[in-house]
């Protein structure tokens, strides 16, 4: 996975980049399965590897497929990302150990979900649609927003946009 990402960061042929990101998503999906997150894995496979790849390729067809050489050496971004990394590690090391059953997330809220009081075996679906149904409504709205937004942006226009395209 790391390999995929690092190569991805290096290569400048966008087509390769997109394919790599697809691969990356697949790996991510398998990893998620290993972590018992089957629903997430399924979605990630469908979305990350499927939809976004198609989207990217579609967009690429409309654009140039070679990335230009970066003009300047990007020290600042590097520094910023490293700072972020440091902060993340700093925080992460304080987290409960991996798969520690005593971790708060296992003690506090989740147990009730697993009691299956509304008799829906797939707890994820239960939580998604019922307990936190409002989040999902928001999620759907986000999708809707994106869709409508893209219509607004890409719909062919009879009247040309303001004459700034000199």
């Amino acid at each position: 996975m790391l390999m995929a990402v690092i190569v991805l960061a290096r290569t400048r042929n966008l087509f390769a980049v997109i394919v790599l990101s697809g691969i990356y998503s697949f790996l991510m999906a398998t990893l998620l399965v290993a972590l018992d997150a089957v629903d997430v894995a399924m979605t990630e496979a469908a979305v990350g590897a499927g939809v976004s790849t198609v989207l990217l390729l579609g967009a690429l067809r409309l654009c140039r497929s070679e990335e230009a050489k970066p003009a300047h050496r990007p020290w600042l971004p590097l520094a910023l990302s490293l700072a972020t990394a440091a902060l993340l590690i700093y925080g992460a090391l304080g987290l409960p150990d991996f798969a520690d059953p005593e971790a708060p997330i296992h003690r506090h809220v989740a147990p009730r979900y697993l009691e299956n009081e509304i008799d829906v075996p797939n707890v994820v679906t239960a939580v998604l649609a019922s307990f936190r149904g409002y989040d999902t409504l928001g999620e759907t709205t986000v999708v809707f927003t994106a869709g409508a937004g893209i219509i607004a942006l890409l719909r062919r226009r009879k009247s040309k946009r303001g004459g700034d395209e000199k």
């Binding site: 966008l14 018992d36 089957v38 490293l82 590690i89 928001g138």
Partner: protein
């Protein structure tokens, strides 16, 4: 330390993505980096939800120990949000390509500055 291996991986992925976003000038490349950045956050949530010997949170009589479903739910939402953002970003990138004729940030900035100068000249 070994207990946090997953976190370390997560961090590296995230930072790689973040770096691509900030360092690269190509609009589409940026977006790829952005999605990598977001995707890697998923691990941060999911990994701690795993329990050794636990199974996917789909209840069945033969299992007793389940991994934590809540992070899964959150990440499902997050994935969807991510792809929505990606799609929108691509749409904008395409329009930029059409109006500017390029998807390289530097060239776009250059074009804008040209217009800006023209304005200043007029004023």
């Amino acid at each position: 330390m070994i207990g946090h291996f997953s976190h370390v991986v997560t961090v590296l992925l995230m930072v790689a993505g973040l770096y691509v976003v900030m360092a690269r000038g190509n609009l589409i490349k940026k977006l790829v980096g952005l999605s990598v950045f977001q995707t890697s956050v998923y691990l941060l949530y999911i990994a701690p939800g795993k329990l050794i010997g636990g199974t996917a949170p789909i209840l069945a009589p033969q299992y007793t120990l389940y991994s934590n479903p809540l992070p899964h739910v959150l990440i499902l939402t997050a994935i969807v949000v991510g792809v929505a953002t990606l799609a929108l970003g691509l749409a904008i990138a395409v329009r930029i390509k059409e109006t500017y004729g390029t998807i390289e940030e530097d060239e776009i900035i250059a074009a804008d500055n040209a217009v800006q100068d023209a304005e200043d000249a007029r004023s």
